[in-house]
Protein backbone atom coordinates (compact mmCIF):
# COMPACT_ATOMS: atom_id res chain seq x y z
CA UNK A 1 0.00 0.00 0.00
CA UNK A 2 1.30 3.46 -0.87
CA UNK A 3 1.15 6.47 1.42
CA UNK A 4 1.73 10.10 0.53
CA UNK A 5 3.31 11.56 3.65
CA UNK A 6 4.19 15.06 4.71
CA UNK A 7 7.67 14.25 5.98
CA UNK A 8 8.86 11.53 3.65
CA UNK A 9 6.89 11.99 0.46
CA UNK A 10 5.58 8.81 -1.10
CA UNK A 11 6.39 5.54 0.60
CA UNK A 12 5.16 1.97 0.49
CA UNK A 13 4.22 -0.08 3.52
CA UNK A 14 2.75 -3.46 4.25
CA UNK A 15 -0.46 -2.85 6.13
CA UNK A 16 -1.25 -6.38 7.21
CA UNK A 17 -1.92 -6.73 10.89
CA UNK A 18 -1.74 -2.99 11.52
CA UNK A 19 -3.80 -1.81 14.44
CA UNK A 20 -6.30 0.93 13.94
CA UNK A 21 -8.01 2.87 16.66
CA UNK A 22 -10.85 1.45 18.72
CA UNK A 23 -13.57 2.39 16.30
CA UNK A 24 -12.98 0.34 13.21
CA UNK A 25 -11.70 2.53 10.41
CA UNK A 26 -10.65 1.15 7.06
CA UNK A 27 -7.49 2.29 5.34
CA UNK A 28 -9.25 4.07 2.51
CA UNK A 29 -7.81 6.41 -0.12
CA UNK A 30 -8.09 10.20 0.34
CA UNK A 31 -8.19 9.84 4.12
CA UNK A 32 -5.67 11.71 6.29
CA UNK A 33 -4.04 9.40 8.85
CA UNK A 34 -1.35 9.69 11.45
CA UNK A 35 0.68 6.55 10.90
CA UNK A 36 3.64 4.92 12.56
CA UNK A 37 5.96 2.71 10.58
CA UNK A 38 8.74 0.26 11.31
CA UNK A 39 11.37 -1.36 9.15
CA UNK A 40 14.78 -0.25 7.93
CA UNK A 41 14.40 -1.21 4.28
CA UNK A 42 12.61 0.53 1.45
CA UNK A 43 9.35 -1.29 2.20
CA UNK A 44 8.03 -0.31 5.63
CA UNK A 45 5.56 -2.05 7.87
CA UNK A 46 2.57 -0.11 9.10
CA UNK A 47 2.42 -0.49 12.86
CA UNK A 48 -0.63 1.53 13.68
CA UNK A 49 -2.72 4.32 12.30
CA UNK A 50 -5.27 6.79 13.43
CA UNK A 51 -7.58 9.07 11.51
CA UNK A 52 -6.21 12.60 11.58
CA UNK A 53 -9.22 14.44 10.26
CA UNK A 54 -12.69 13.33 9.36
CA UNK A 55 -12.48 11.29 6.18
CA UNK A 56 -13.72 13.05 3.08
CA UNK A 57 -16.16 11.44 0.70
CA UNK A 58 -15.58 11.79 -3.04
CA UNK A 59 -18.47 10.94 -5.33
CA UNK A 60 -19.18 10.61 -9.01
CA UNK A 61 -16.83 12.25 -11.49
CA UNK A 62 -14.94 13.91 -8.65
CA UNK A 63 -14.09 10.47 -7.33
CA UNK A 64 -12.71 9.44 -10.73
CA UNK A 65 -10.62 12.62 -10.79
CA UNK A 66 -9.34 11.75 -7.32
CA UNK A 67 -8.35 8.30 -8.53
CA UNK A 68 -6.63 9.87 -11.54
CA UNK A 69 -4.63 12.15 -9.26
CA UNK A 70 -3.69 9.24 -7.01
CA UNK A 71 -2.52 7.25 -10.00
CA UNK A 72 -0.44 10.24 -11.16
CA UNK A 73 1.22 10.49 -7.74
CA UNK A 74 1.98 6.78 -7.56
CA UNK A 75 3.44 6.84 -11.05
CA UNK A 76 5.45 10.05 -10.78
CA UNK A 77 6.61 10.59 -7.21
CA UNK A 78 9.86 8.96 -6.18
CA UNK A 79 9.94 7.21 -2.82
CA UNK A 80 11.19 9.11 0.23
CA UNK A 81 11.28 12.40 -1.59
CA UNK A 82 9.53 14.94 0.65
CA UNK A 83 7.05 17.15 -1.21
CA UNK A 84 5.71 19.49 1.43
CA UNK A 85 4.17 22.03 -0.92
CA UNK A 86 2.58 19.34 -3.10
CA UNK A 87 1.25 17.58 -0.02
CA UNK A 88 -0.59 20.77 0.78
CA UNK A 89 -1.94 21.18 -2.77
CA UNK A 90 -3.11 17.56 -2.69
CA UNK A 91 -4.89 18.09 0.58
CA UNK A 92 -6.62 21.21 -0.74
CA UNK A 93 -7.57 19.45 -3.96
CA UNK A 94 -9.11 16.46 -2.17
CA UNK A 95 -11.14 18.68 0.13
CA UNK A 96 -12.38 20.75 -2.80
CA UNK A 97 -13.27 17.57 -4.74
CA UNK A 98 -15.32 16.37 -1.79
CA UNK A 99 -17.55 19.42 -2.00
CA UNK A 100 -20.53 18.46 -4.05
CA UNK A 101 -20.72 21.75 -5.96
CA UNK A 102 -19.34 20.08 -9.00
CA UNK A 103 -15.91 20.00 -10.47
CA UNK A 104 -13.55 22.80 -11.17
CA UNK A 105 -11.28 22.01 -14.07
CA UNK A 106 -9.03 24.84 -12.96
CA UNK A 107 -8.39 23.04 -9.68
CA UNK A 108 -7.10 19.93 -11.38
CA UNK A 109 -4.99 21.88 -13.91
CA UNK A 110 -3.38 23.92 -11.12
CA UNK A 111 -2.58 20.74 -9.25
CA UNK A 112 -1.03 19.16 -12.35
CA UNK A 113 1.06 22.29 -12.96
CA UNK A 114 2.16 22.29 -9.28
CA UNK A 115 3.04 18.62 -9.61
CA UNK A 116 5.16 19.26 -12.71
CA UNK A 117 6.91 22.18 -10.99
CA UNK A 118 7.70 20.17 -7.86
CA UNK A 119 9.02 17.29 -9.95
CA UNK A 120 11.42 19.74 -11.61
CA UNK A 121 9.49 20.05 -14.86
CA UNK A 122 7.89 23.42 -14.26
CA UNK A 123 6.44 25.27 -17.24
CA UNK A 124 7.21 28.94 -17.87
CA UNK A 125 4.12 30.73 -19.20
CA UNK A 126 5.24 34.35 -19.44
CA UNK A 127 8.62 34.16 -21.21
CA UNK A 128 9.91 32.31 -24.25
CA UNK A 129 12.03 29.41 -23.10
CA UNK A 130 14.71 29.95 -25.77
CA UNK A 131 15.25 33.72 -25.76
CA UNK A 132 13.63 34.90 -22.54
CA UNK A 133 11.48 37.37 -24.52
CA UNK A 134 8.08 38.15 -23.03
CA UNK A 135 5.13 36.13 -24.33
CA UNK A 136 2.88 38.41 -26.39
CA UNK A 137 -0.92 38.11 -26.44
CA UNK A 138 -1.35 37.95 -30.21
CA UNK A 139 1.63 35.77 -31.14
CA UNK A 140 1.59 32.02 -31.63
CA UNK A 141 3.78 29.74 -29.56
CA UNK A 142 4.67 26.09 -29.69
CA UNK A 143 5.08 23.99 -26.56
CA UNK A 144 8.62 22.74 -26.14
CA UNK A 145 9.66 19.87 -23.91
CA UNK A 146 12.24 22.17 -22.37
CA UNK A 147 9.42 23.38 -20.16
CA UNK A 148 8.06 26.37 -21.99
CA UNK A 149 7.20 27.91 -25.32
CA UNK A 150 8.98 28.99 -28.49
CA UNK A 151 7.54 31.18 -31.28
CA UNK A 152 5.57 29.28 -33.91
CA UNK A 153 5.06 30.55 -37.49
CA UNK A 154 1.50 29.22 -37.73
CA UNK A 155 -0.83 26.62 -36.27
CA UNK A 156 0.92 23.50 -37.50
CA UNK A 157 -0.57 21.34 -34.76
CA UNK A 158 -3.44 22.56 -32.62
CA UNK A 159 -2.30 20.21 -29.86
CA UNK A 160 1.02 21.98 -29.38
CA UNK A 161 0.55 25.51 -30.80
CA UNK A 162 -1.29 28.13 -28.78
CA UNK A 163 -2.00 31.83 -28.84
CA UNK A 164 0.01 33.91 -26.37
CA UNK A 165 -3.00 35.28 -24.53
CA UNK A 166 -4.07 31.82 -23.38
CA UNK A 167 -0.58 31.07 -22.10
CA UNK A 168 -0.53 34.32 -20.14
CA UNK A 169 -3.97 33.50 -18.70
CA UNK A 170 -2.80 30.09 -17.51
CA UNK A 171 0.27 31.69 -15.93
CA UNK A 172 -2.00 34.07 -14.04
CA UNK A 173 -4.33 31.29 -12.97
CA UNK A 174 -7.22 32.72 -14.97
CA UNK A 175 -9.13 29.78 -16.44
CA UNK A 176 -12.36 31.62 -17.20
CA UNK A 177 -12.21 31.06 -20.99
CA UNK A 178 -12.92 27.65 -22.50
CA UNK A 179 -9.98 28.10 -24.88
CA UNK A 180 -7.65 28.66 -21.93
CA UNK A 181 -8.86 25.45 -20.30
CA UNK A 182 -8.46 23.53 -23.55
CA UNK A 183 -4.93 24.87 -24.01
CA UNK A 184 -4.01 24.07 -20.40
CA UNK A 185 -5.27 20.51 -20.76
CA UNK A 186 -3.23 19.93 -23.93
CA UNK A 187 -0.09 21.51 -22.46
CA UNK A 188 -0.29 19.48 -19.25
CA UNK A 189 -0.87 16.31 -21.25
CA UNK A 190 2.15 16.99 -23.43
CA UNK A 191 4.28 17.73 -20.38
CA UNK A 192 3.17 14.61 -18.51
CA UNK A 193 3.56 12.31 -21.48
CA UNK A 194 7.34 11.84 -21.42
CA UNK A 195 7.22 11.38 -17.63
CA UNK A 196 4.57 8.67 -17.82
CA UNK A 197 6.28 6.79 -20.64
CA UNK A 198 4.53 4.12 -22.67
CA UNK A 199 2.28 2.83 -19.93
CA UNK A 200 -1.10 4.59 -20.21
CA UNK A 201 -2.92 5.85 -17.14
CA UNK A 202 -5.68 3.39 -16.31
CA UNK A 203 -7.90 6.01 -14.70
CA UNK A 204 -8.13 7.96 -17.99
CA UNK A 205 -10.21 5.11 -19.42
CA UNK A 206 -12.89 5.65 -16.80
CA UNK A 207 -13.99 9.03 -18.07
CA UNK A 208 -16.79 8.04 -20.41
CA UNK A 209 -18.64 11.24 -21.07
CA UNK A 210 -16.72 13.19 -23.71
CA UNK A 211 -18.81 16.28 -22.95
CA UNK A 212 -17.32 16.50 -19.47
CA UNK A 213 -13.96 15.01 -20.39
CA UNK A 214 -12.40 16.91 -17.60
CA UNK A 215 -9.03 15.37 -17.27
Amino acid sequence: MDFFTLKYGRLSAVARGARGQKKKVALQPFTPFVISLTGSGELKTLKNYEIYENPVCLLGDNLLIGLYVNELLVRLLGRFDPMVRLFDSYKTLVIRLSNKQGFSEQLLRCFEIDLLTDLGYGIVFDHEVSTGAAILEQKLYKYSLEGGFVPAPDVTDSNTVFQGKYLLAIGQGDFSLTSTRMAAKKIVRSALKPLLGDKPLHSRKLFIKPASGNQ
Binding site: D2, K22, K23, K24, V25, A26, Q28, P29, F30, N54, P55, C57, L58, L59, G60, D61, L63, L64, G66, L67, Y68, N70, E71, V74, L201, H202, S203, K205, L206, I208, K209
Partner: protein
Protein backbone atom coordinates in the same frame (compact mmCIF):
# COMPACT_ATOMS: atom_id res chain seq x y z
CA UNK B 1 12.82 -33.86 6.24
CA UNK B 2 11.91 -35.11 2.79
CA UNK B 3 11.88 -33.19 -0.47
CA UNK B 4 8.29 -34.28 -1.19
CA UNK B 5 7.07 -33.15 2.21
CA UNK B 6 8.91 -29.86 1.90
CA UNK B 7 7.36 -29.34 -1.49
CA UNK B 8 3.85 -29.94 -0.13
CA UNK B 9 4.43 -27.56 2.79
CA UNK B 10 5.57 -24.91 0.35
CA UNK B 11 2.55 -25.57 -1.90
CA UNK B 12 0.06 -25.16 0.95
CA UNK B 13 1.49 -21.77 1.80
CA UNK B 14 -0.23 -20.19 -1.19
CA UNK B 15 -3.41 -20.26 0.89
CA UNK B 16 -4.23 -16.99 2.67
CA UNK B 17 -3.32 -17.07 6.35
CA UNK B 18 -1.23 -20.25 6.10
CA UNK B 19 2.33 -19.77 7.37
CA UNK B 20 5.15 -22.34 7.47
CA UNK B 21 4.11 -23.70 10.88
CA UNK B 22 0.48 -24.32 10.07
CA UNK B 23 1.39 -25.71 6.63
CA UNK B 24 3.69 -28.22 8.33
CA UNK B 25 0.95 -29.18 10.78
CA UNK B 26 -1.51 -29.74 7.93
CA UNK B 27 0.92 -31.94 6.01
CA UNK B 28 1.78 -34.10 9.02
CA UNK B 29 -1.89 -34.43 9.85
CA UNK B 30 -2.74 -35.59 6.32
CA UNK B 31 0.15 -38.05 6.17
CA UNK B 32 -0.36 -39.58 9.57
CA UNK B 33 -4.00 -39.21 10.44
CA UNK B 34 -5.93 -39.08 7.22
CA UNK B 35 -4.15 -40.18 4.02
CA UNK B 36 -7.44 -41.08 2.24
CA UNK B 37 -8.88 -37.69 3.04
CA UNK B 38 -5.72 -36.17 1.64
CA UNK B 39 -6.00 -38.09 -1.63
CA UNK B 40 -9.65 -37.11 -1.92
CA UNK B 41 -8.66 -33.49 -1.36
CA UNK B 42 -6.05 -33.75 -4.11
CA UNK B 43 -8.60 -35.21 -6.56
CA UNK B 44 -11.26 -32.63 -5.71
CA UNK B 45 -8.77 -29.79 -6.10
CA UNK B 46 -7.71 -30.95 -9.52
CA UNK B 47 -11.25 -31.64 -10.75
CA UNK B 48 -12.58 -28.33 -9.44
CA UNK B 49 -9.81 -26.15 -10.72
CA UNK B 50 -9.86 -27.79 -14.14
CA UNK B 51 -13.64 -27.98 -14.38
CA UNK B 52 -14.84 -24.64 -13.01
CA UNK B 53 -14.95 -21.56 -15.19
CA UNK B 54 -17.02 -18.38 -15.40
CA UNK B 55 -20.71 -18.47 -16.25
CA UNK B 56 -21.17 -17.08 -19.77
CA UNK B 57 -23.94 -14.81 -18.61
CA UNK B 58 -23.17 -13.61 -15.09
CA UNK B 59 -19.46 -14.46 -14.70
CA UNK B 60 -20.08 -16.39 -11.49
CA UNK B 61 -18.13 -19.61 -11.02
CA UNK B 62 -19.65 -22.76 -12.50
CA UNK B 63 -18.65 -25.97 -14.24
CA UNK B 64 -21.38 -25.54 -16.85
CA UNK B 65 -21.87 -22.91 -19.52
CA UNK B 66 -24.47 -21.24 -17.34
CA UNK B 67 -24.59 -21.27 -13.54
CA UNK B 68 -27.57 -22.67 -11.62
CA UNK B 69 -29.03 -19.21 -10.93
CA UNK B 70 -28.87 -18.15 -14.59
CA UNK B 71 -30.46 -21.46 -15.61
CA UNK B 72 -33.25 -21.28 -13.06
CA UNK B 73 -36.44 -20.23 -14.94
CA UNK B 74 -38.12 -19.21 -11.68
CA UNK B 75 -35.75 -16.28 -11.16
CA UNK B 76 -36.92 -12.77 -12.00
CA UNK B 77 -35.34 -11.53 -15.23
CA UNK B 78 -36.20 -7.90 -14.62
CA UNK B 79 -33.70 -7.38 -11.79
CA UNK B 80 -29.94 -7.77 -11.94
CA UNK B 81 -27.86 -7.49 -8.79
CA UNK B 82 -24.23 -6.54 -9.50
CA UNK B 83 -21.69 -7.76 -6.94
CA UNK B 84 -17.90 -7.81 -6.69
CA UNK B 85 -17.32 -11.46 -5.77
CA UNK B 86 -18.90 -14.93 -5.80
CA UNK B 87 -18.89 -14.78 -2.00
CA UNK B 88 -21.27 -11.81 -2.23
CA UNK B 89 -23.74 -13.90 -4.26
CA UNK B 90 -23.63 -16.57 -1.56
CA UNK B 91 -24.17 -13.96 1.15
CA UNK B 92 -27.19 -12.42 -0.61
CA UNK B 93 -28.66 -15.84 -1.42
CA UNK B 94 -28.33 -16.92 2.21
CA UNK B 95 -29.98 -13.71 3.37
CA UNK B 96 -32.91 -14.59 1.09
CA UNK B 97 -35.40 -12.11 -0.28
CA UNK B 98 -33.77 -11.49 -3.65
CA UNK B 99 -35.20 -13.48 -6.57
CA UNK B 100 -33.57 -11.72 -9.50
CA UNK B 101 -30.38 -12.46 -11.44
CA UNK B 102 -26.78 -11.60 -10.61
CA UNK B 103 -23.74 -10.25 -12.31
CA UNK B 104 -20.35 -10.93 -10.72
CA UNK B 105 -17.59 -8.44 -11.56
CA UNK B 106 -14.82 -10.53 -9.96
CA UNK B 107 -13.28 -7.42 -8.45
CA UNK B 108 -13.61 -3.65 -8.62
CA UNK B 109 -12.12 -0.82 -10.64
CA UNK B 110 -8.70 0.07 -9.33
CA UNK B 111 -6.65 2.22 -11.70
CA UNK B 112 -3.56 2.11 -9.47
CA UNK B 113 -3.54 -1.69 -9.69
CA UNK B 114 -4.32 -1.57 -13.40
CA UNK B 115 -7.79 -3.09 -13.08
CA UNK B 116 -10.08 -1.52 -15.64
CA UNK B 117 -13.59 -2.06 -17.05
CA UNK B 118 -12.41 -4.83 -19.40
CA UNK B 119 -11.17 -6.93 -16.48
CA UNK B 120 -14.59 -6.77 -14.85
CA UNK B 121 -16.63 -7.82 -17.89
CA UNK B 122 -18.64 -4.61 -17.71
CA UNK B 123 -19.34 -4.82 -21.43
CA UNK B 124 -21.02 -8.21 -20.89
CA UNK B 125 -23.20 -6.64 -18.20
CA UNK B 126 -24.27 -3.81 -20.50
CA UNK B 127 -25.03 -6.37 -23.22
CA UNK B 128 -27.15 -8.41 -20.78
CA UNK B 129 -29.13 -5.32 -19.83
CA UNK B 130 -29.66 -4.29 -23.46
CA UNK B 131 -30.74 -7.73 -24.63
CA UNK B 132 -33.00 -8.70 -21.72
CA UNK B 133 -36.19 -7.45 -20.07
CA UNK B 134 -34.17 -5.74 -17.31
CA UNK B 135 -35.97 -3.00 -15.40
CA UNK B 136 -33.64 -2.48 -12.48
CA UNK B 137 -29.92 -2.90 -11.85
CA UNK B 138 -28.95 -3.04 -8.18
CA UNK B 139 -25.34 -2.08 -7.61
CA UNK B 140 -24.42 -4.14 -4.54
CA UNK B 141 -20.73 -3.30 -4.61
CA UNK B 142 -18.69 -2.80 -1.47
CA UNK B 143 -18.73 0.49 0.36
CA UNK B 144 -15.12 1.33 -0.45
CA UNK B 145 -13.62 4.02 -2.62
CA UNK B 146 -13.06 1.47 -5.40
CA UNK B 147 -16.59 0.10 -5.01
CA UNK B 148 -17.96 3.62 -5.25
CA UNK B 149 -15.93 4.30 -8.41
CA UNK B 150 -17.15 1.03 -9.93
CA UNK B 151 -20.77 1.88 -9.15
CA UNK B 152 -20.41 5.36 -10.63
CA UNK B 153 -18.77 4.06 -13.80
CA UNK B 154 -21.43 1.39 -14.36
CA UNK B 155 -24.31 3.75 -13.63
CA UNK B 156 -22.97 6.27 -16.16
CA UNK B 157 -22.82 3.52 -18.79
CA UNK B 158 -26.35 2.29 -18.03
CA UNK B 159 -27.98 5.69 -17.64
CA UNK B 160 -28.91 6.06 -21.35
CA UNK B 161 -30.75 2.71 -21.24
CA UNK B 162 -33.62 4.13 -19.19
CA UNK B 163 -33.75 1.62 -16.37
CA UNK B 164 -33.76 2.01 -12.60
CA UNK B 165 -30.27 1.98 -11.13
CA UNK B 166 -30.08 1.54 -7.38
CA UNK B 167 -27.49 1.13 -4.65
CA UNK B 168 -27.77 -0.86 -1.44
CA UNK B 169 -28.58 1.31 1.55
CA UNK B 170 -25.69 1.73 3.94
CA UNK B 171 -25.78 2.48 7.60
CA UNK B 172 -25.80 1.12 11.11
CA UNK B 173 -25.42 -2.68 11.28
CA UNK B 174 -28.15 -4.65 13.03
CA UNK B 175 -27.22 -4.84 16.70
CA UNK B 176 -24.74 -1.98 16.32
CA UNK B 177 -24.30 0.59 19.06
CA UNK B 178 -23.91 4.15 17.81
CA UNK B 179 -21.13 4.89 20.26
CA UNK B 180 -18.87 2.32 18.63
CA UNK B 181 -19.57 3.17 15.01
CA UNK B 182 -17.15 5.28 13.01
CA UNK B 183 -18.03 8.76 11.85
CA UNK B 184 -18.35 8.08 8.14
CA UNK B 185 -20.79 5.19 8.72
CA UNK B 186 -22.92 7.44 10.88
CA UNK B 187 -22.75 10.18 8.22
CA UNK B 188 -23.90 7.71 5.54
CA UNK B 189 -26.68 6.42 7.76
CA UNK B 190 -27.90 9.94 8.46
CA UNK B 191 -27.85 10.81 4.79
CA UNK B 192 -29.81 7.68 3.87
CA UNK B 193 -32.31 8.00 6.73
CA UNK B 194 -35.87 6.90 6.19
CA UNK B 195 -39.17 8.48 7.16
CA UNK B 196 -41.24 6.27 9.46
Amino acid sequence: MSPLIDQLIEALRILPGVGPRSAQRMVLHLLEKNPEGGLNLANCLKATIEGVDHCKKCRNLTENDLCSICENPARNDTEICVVENPADVIAIEQAGGFRGRYFVLMGHLSPIDGIGPDDLGIEVLVENVKSGPVEEVILAVNLTVEGEATAHYISELLRPLNIIISRLAHGIPVGGELEYIDGSTIAHALEGRKKI
